[in-house]
Amino acid sequence: MTSAKTPGILLRFRDLVTEPGGNIEEHRRIIDELGFAWWGWWARSHEKVPKDDLAKLLVGRQHFPIILFDSGMMEFYYSKCSKIAVAPGDAGIASPDFRSTPHYYVRGSYPAWFKLHEDIKTIDRSAFTVTGRPTISETSADAAQSETHPLDIESLRDERPTLWLIDIEDGI
């Protein structure tokens, strides 16, 4: 019997402006202080915001699972997202609330922001399955390949997207 799964997203990041582990630590600190923190999506220039897919994630639910993939340390982290802010057009937007955003975001604009409201904890790769790459033009071969051969961490790191659709096991 297969376990129940919930749709969510996987976001890639690297600690380019903090020391290793610094991004996660900073967001954890803010969540601890304020109860939530905004995470900016560091998309690549060729990626499009998958608005329809994102819109579906919060239909009928107050939050959805979000996995943060540190492709430098090769670690996965789990949290819950209760809100998504999306730039109206191609130009990004600044954080909706700088008080609950790490200071290094102040000068940046990002295509989307995700409001994390649960403590960020480590999670194993095996807890989720990639179900789509909506930010890029995915070929049917890519999709078929990932369905039959679940990606290992290195393969995931080598892929082009910074945002994936995933299914994650309930009860994490």
Binding site: A55, A85, P88
Partner: protein, 420 residues
């Protein structure tokens, strides 16, 4: 492609790439001014189904990014307004960050922004400001060709209770913060005995900036007499062609405030490219051994009360006190003004003719009529002097509005040698 064309391309085609590239590369501080362009205004009115610039800037679809969901649809006009707001709010956020490093600023308050020069003011509230940035910025109110910095009566009219409460909180804040293009000016109303930027200051700053940007020469020098909180001097110093700014101020708190605002805007004594000096003294031309390309001043332009008493016996034409600084400036021009230099002064319809009479013969005055602005005149002594008030009305130096409010006209003037 210029900024206007990039905006039109975005409105007509939904392609914002040129606009993004322009804003990233140009640090454009007058972006909202583009909304006065008739073609752009028409498209924005269509895309927002509202015709007023006030609504375009304050509506939630422009600024409330926290509620822009993935399912929301935006017209090209709404996207353009959002981009213009992002440009202003991010610039303001960076400036606020810098301000908080130099001054104690309340965590909640408001900034009066002029993102379209003197034509447009936007009152922006901020909440939960820290040194890491400002949590929330919101455009509360917009003034087109504003008659004053806050225009409190207009702000509180015809608005929701929620907005009124936000406005009241912003208005009573201890910090008076003004953002004119890239220059931010702070005055602490409780601790600093300084008269913060007024609409006169905004007009002079705007006119001088336009002149400096179009001047053919480089290494321009500017003298400001009576900088107050420093907006004109600081903004002039921010213009690349300007290499020397001198400000002379007799009021010591204003000296300290001007120095603070130079520091807030990134000026350092160690700069190799700009020479800036602030002289804490009464303006006295004999103390200077240099000439200036531009001299700028916002002198008192209303006669003093005791001289209004003189007026009763000697007639209006004899009043010059309160206008003494004009005399001092005119008599200093030979010594302080560079051969092709110009002086920019603010006058009022109340005293313009008398100021013009003080001018030395070898100089001419040009009124910057297109920059003139009708503004309220709150001068108690006029109510106590009905004869004088009536004489001013008869000469059309002041007007009475429908509700009895008095108005005068601010008239900036250029003074230069007739030989130029």
């Amino acid at each position: 492609m210029n900024f206007r064309d990039a905006c039109l391309e975005a409105l007509n085609t939904g392609t914002f790439k040129s606009l993004e590239v322009y804003l990233k590369s140009h640090q454009y501080h007058d972006s909202f001014e583009v909304l006065f362009d008739p073609e752009i205004a028409l498209e924005v009115a269509r895309g927002t189904e509202t015709t007023e610039i006030q609504n375009w800037i304050t509506r939630r679809q422009t600024w409330d990014t926290g509620n822009f969901g993935p399912a929301d649809k935006f017209t090209n006009a709404e996207r353009l307004l959002s981009v213009l707001w992002q440009n202003l709010s991010q610039s303001l956020n960076r400036k606020m960050e810098e301000l908080r490093r130099h001054a104690n600023v309340s965590s909640n308050g408001a900034v009066i922004c002029f993102p379209g020069g003197a034509k447009l003011s936007v009152l922006v509230s901020f909440n939960d400001a820290t040194t890491a940035g400002v949590a929330r910025l919101r455009p509360l109110s917009v003034g087109v060709s504003p008659e004053g910095m806050l225009e409190i009566e207009r702000l509180l009219q015809d608005t929701t209770r929620e907005r009124k409460n936000e406005l009241k909180k912003a208005i009573i804040s201890v910090d008076k913060i003004t953002l004119f293009r890239s220059t931010i000016i702070h005055v602490n109303r409780q601790l600093e005995d300084v008269f913060g930027p007024t609409i006169d200051t905004i007009l002079l700053t705007s006119i001088l900036a336009e002149e400096l940007h179009s001047a053919p020469q480089k290494n321009i020098s500017v003298l400001e007499i009576g900088p107050g909180s420093g907006l004109i001097a600081v903004h002039a110093a921010s213009i690349e062609k300007v290499s020397r700014v001198c400000a002379v101020e007799i009021n010591f708190p204003s000296v300290a405030c001007t120095i603070k605002n130079f520091a807030v805007n990134g000026f350092r004594p160690s700069s190799r490219f700009k020479s800036i000096s602030i002289r804490a003294e009464k303006f006295s031309p004999s103390l200077y051994d240099e000439k200036f390309d531009y001299i700028v001043c916002n002198p008192p332009y209303i006669p003093e009360l005791e001289d209004v008493e003189k007026l009763k016996s000697s007639g209006y034409g004899a009043a010059i006190s309160g206008l003494e600084l004009y005399s001092e400036i005119f008599s200093s021009l030979d010594q302080l003004l560079a051969p092709l230099g110009r002086a920019l002064l603010m006058t009022s319809s109340v005293s313009l003719l008398d100021v013009e009479k003080l001018k030395p013969d070898q100089y001419r005055i040009t009124r910057a009529e297109s920059s003139s602005r009708r503004v309220p005149l709150d001068l108690d002594l006029l109510w106590d002097r009905p004869d004088w008030r009536q004489s001013l009305i008869d000469k059309k130096a002041i007007e009475l509005g429908e509700d009895g409010q008095m108005f005068h006209t601010l008239v900036p003037i250029w003074v230069e040698r007739k030989a130029n």
